[in-house]
């Protein structure tokens, strides 16, 4: 697969404190997960072993689905990133912001958006009926529908992360490439691919985990029990059978399997490449290449964004009524407060993790520093909710009062893998390409961070901050068991509306969350770009 340059230990400035902080973080997250599983076992005792063959079949099905979702998402993400990097057009910023907003949109909203466009009574079917006179017979339900929905969520995220890598190519290299007259394919192979491939293993791991643990989308778009996931078996073990031991066993199967995948991806070391503060430069392509980029952008842009646009179109007319609901303001405020705090926490934790990993050289150390942080994504939602509830209760706290704090922490941990996948590659590349220089300068960790690293990753930090904010805004969270009628967030309010026949309110809330996310992704990076540069 990837041919990696040999690592030279002496080229990376050693920062023992960074590694200790990173190790502490990884340890705490690991202990938290182990504690949650033990608390469940203590509450429920040893369960009945699940049927081995059935579990293998479930893992097989889920792996197939997650593998395909990952491949398609990465391919779509690369194509979109390439097209967006080459093209400049009016509304480019909005398209990028909407793409970023995709991953933070609740899965159920994306699924409904997808159905508005591709469903039996959707936009495409209506348009084809009007054109041809007969109703077309295609179905969005099935494996294809699941992968489509996952690609909207994860492919758009991949595009956003990969675009950041392409935009960070040093202008000098581009100038050189242009003067050498590189053709489109050559430019991709010589300049783009080395920049992209460093981000791919981390990105693929995160996307695989998201798809592997996806639950409502799989059930809703799967079209019946033929498409299943191991998560639903865990859900049933807790909810239907109250067999907590079995739930933990199944969770361990899922975590173990995901750990295997993550380990493999973490061992692929990112390639060394110079990187620059994100300043997209122009590149003059041949006309066919430009046309290709336009076609890719139109095709994939439509496929990925039309479901989100459908969510807006259906929800915005119902917004005025929603705004009169007395419950909206408290839910909005709670959501904004939780989102602000958890995104700041996520950025801090993500920086600790990414800086620690960038200063480590041995593959095993890098794995141990990074992999546990992905653990949160591999743990079944039901098990996490149960574990958090029991831990809070065992600690003698009132679950209801603890709910907002648990939500903040849980959301920050949820964003951590994305933070690591976004902040890791540029810091790794810096450590490897400028390591010798930094080492010879004998900078302290603080000076190195503020003078060298921070200016380089400011755009990425803004992305993580926005990501963290919007993720927390749209996350249903793990407080299913903490609940009280006195506390609500926007997504909880949306699910309540949906559960009480109020589909107009639910649509308006989905649109509102999407609007906030889009705005945050547009505004936050610009604000952060305006903060005076530390070097100035």
């Amino acid at each position: 697969m990837l041919r990696l340059p040999p690592f030279n230990n002496s080229t990376i400035p050693p920062h023992p404190r960074r590694q200790i902080a990173g190790a502490g973080l990884a340890l705490i997250v690991t202990l938290g997960l182990v504690g949650a599983l033990l608390a469940i076992l203590a509450a429920g005792g040893v369960g009945t072993a699940p049927h081995g063959g059935a579990i293998l079949a479930l893992v097989g099905l889920t792996t197939l689905q997650a593998g395909l979702s990952t491949l398609v998402s990465i391919a779509v993400g690369m194509a979109l990133a390439w097209a967006l990097n080459r093209l400049r057009f009016f509304g480019r910023g909005v398209v990028i912001a909407l793409l970023s907003a995709a991953i933070v949109t609740p899965g159920i909203v994306v699924a409904f958006g997808l159905i508005s466009v591709w469903g039996r009574a959707g936009f495409i079917a209506d348009a084809l009926t009007a054109l041809t006179g007969t109703r077309p017979d295609f179905s969005i339900f099935g494996l294809g529908g699941i992968i489509f929905a996952h690609t909207i969520l994860d492919g758009a995220f991949a595009a956003r992360v990969l675009l950041a890598r392409l935009d960070a190519l040093p202008p000098a290299r581009l100038k050189l490439g242009q003067s050498l007259g590189l053709r489109a394919v050559e430019r991709f192979l010589v300049l783009d691919w080395p920049a992209l491939r460093g981000a791919l293993p981390g990105l693929a791991a995160v996307i695989f985990l998201l798809a592997f643990t996806s639950f409502p989308i799989v059930l809703m778009l799967g079209g019946g029990p033929a498409n299943q996931t191991i998560e639903v078996a865990i859900y049933a073990a807790v909810r239907l059978d109250f067999d907590l031991g079995r739930a933990v066993l199944l969770a361990l199967v899922q975590i173990g399997f995901c750990a295997l995948i993550v380990s493999v991806s973490a061992l692929l070391r990112p390639a060394s490449l110079p990187t620059a503060p994100s300043q997209p430069s122009r590149w003059r392509d041949s006309r066919p290449a430009r046309l290709g980029a336009v076609l890719v952008l139109l095709g994939l842009g439509f496929a990925l964004l039309s479901p989100l646009v459908a969510v807006l179109v259906e929800g915005i007319p119902a917004l005025p009524v929603l705004l009169t609901r007395p419950t909206l303001a408290p839910a909005l405020l709670a959501s904004l407060a939780i989102a602000s705090l958890s995104s700041l926490l996520a950025v801090a934790l993500g920086l600790i993790a990414a800086l620690a990993r960038a200063s480590a050289t041995r593959p095993l150390v890098r794995l141990l520093l990074g992999a546990p942080l992905l653990g949160y994504l591999a743990v079944p939602a039901m098990v996490l909710a149960l574990g958090a509830f029991l831990l809070v209760r065992n600690a003698g706290l009132d679950p209801e009062r603890a709910a907002p704090f648990v939500l903040i922490l849980a959301n920050a941990l949820l964003v951590l893998p994305f933070a690591l996948a976004t902040l890791g590659p540029p810091l790794d590349m810096l450590a490897q390409s400028r390591g010798r220089l930094l080492r010879s300068l004998r900078l302290s960790g603080t000076v190195q961070f503020f003078a060298v690293e921070l200016p380089l990753i400011r755009a990425d930090l803004a992305l993580v901050l926005a990501l963290g904010f919007c993720f927390s805004l749209g996350d249903l969270g793990i407080i299913a068991l903490f609940g009280t009628d006195q506390f609500a967030t926007l997504p909880l309010m949306m699910m309540r509306a949906l559960g009480a026949y109020r589909s107009a309110d639910a649509a308006a809330l989905a649109a509102l969350m999407l609007l906030i996310s889009g705005t945050v992704f547009t505004v936050l990076p610009r604000l952060i770009a305006k903060v005076p540069d530390a070097r100035a």
Partner: protein, 331 residues
């Protein structure tokens, strides 16, 4: 827990052991499902109604759905703060009874529309699982499961996953109660019509409203929502000749309660004409008491052909096997 014990010990050492916050009103802790206590549910009105009479404070603590409230109580065990669990149904009550966490309610139950002799739980509303459709799009709905199976493959239904949803489990029970040993055959016949089996009622009903299915598994009372709240008379439920399978929602008192009298009073209030008049247009289920004109005409009269079970406890105990068999049949 520890902290509370420490405080108690400290208080008794000082000779101050007294009921916590004696000057405050007593609190009745009610565990229920989220939709019941939320903005549009019956919770807020029932709380206000009961608080007027009880000189107490009602506090709802919610979980995602009714069965999750039972799981929550089971996790908390005798240390639970809950006095009353509200929202369990006839399918889950036997399991709840078996946990030994509940105490006989000892509340007189009379004057209801149904005969009731359950010593542990009292009913507060009920409904029947049914397939709901849009009369303007489907003038001739199927009249039985066999009718439905005989429809062309393009006729689509959306049902909920029985492992994660109450109506989903209800359909498994309905078919088992109606067809016994032939249940698997019915499920196999339904398979080509099932367009989706989402996680819960919300997703399923949303898919139906978006036009992805001709019928959705819901309740006989769903059309009343559209008629009353949206002034849209176009929805109806399909009359199935096999008869309907009831879901009776019940409430019970925890053995560990410290507010036994309040809990009993609350259960009595739940069945009172005043509370029963609140429930239909907030929880969209039938009242358990004849409330006369307080019940909107759109509710119609409940279906008359009901499938009765010989042995409810035995039927409930075999739910897991039925779910597995149904899933295997549509696999």
């Amino acid at each position: 827990m520890l902290k509370r014990m420490f405080l108690l010990v400290a208080a008794s050492c000082l000779g101050l052991a007294a009921p916590a916050a004696a000057e405050d009103k007593p609190v009745l802790d009610v565990y229920t499902y989220d939709g019941f206590a939320a903005e549009w549910g019956p919770g807020p009105l029932l709380r206000a109604g009961f608080e007027k009479t009880c000189a107490c404070t009602v506090k709802f603590t919610t979980a995602e759905d009714a069965i999750s409230t039972l799981r929550k109580v089971q996790l908390e065990g005798p240390a639970t703060r809950a006095d009353v669990v509200l929202g369990l149904d006839t399918a889950t009550a036997p399991e709840a009874r078996a946990t030994g966490l509940f105490v006989p309610h000892a509340v007189p139950v009379n004057g209801l529309v149904m005969a009731w002799d359950d010593p542990d739980f009292v009913p507060f509303d009920y409904g029947y699982f049914a397939f709901v459709y849009d009369t303007t799009k489907l003038p001739n709905p199927p009249k039985s499961f066999e009718d439905l199976i005989a429809m062309p493959d393009s006729f689509r239904i959306v049902i909920e996953d029985p492992r994660s949803s109450t109506p989903g489990l209800g359909l498994v029970n309905w078919i088992a109660a109606a067809y016994g040993d032939r249940a698997a055959e019915i499920w196999t016949g339904l398979k080509p019509h099932i367009v989706s089996m989402p996680r819960g009622w919300s997703e399923a009903y949303g898919l139906f409203l978006k036009g992805e299915a001709d019928m959705v598994l819901s309740y006989t009372t769903s059309p009343a929502y559209h008629a009353v709240a949206e002034n849209n008379p176009n929805y109806a439920y399909a009359e199935f000749t096999e008869g309907f399978f009831p879901q009776i929602e019940v409430a019970g008192i925890l053995a560990s309660t410290d507010q036994l009298d309040l809990a009993r009073a609350f259960l009595t209030y739940l069945m009172s004409p005043e509370a029963q008049a609140i429930i239909p247009t907030t929880n969209w289920m039938y009242p358990v008491r004849d409330i006369g004109p307080a019940l909107p005409a759109a509710f119609g009269s409940p279906p008359t052909k009901i499938i009765a079970l010989d042995d409810e406890a035995d039927f409930a105990a075999k739910a897991k096997a039925r779910v597995d068999a149904a899933l295997a049949a549509v696999q």
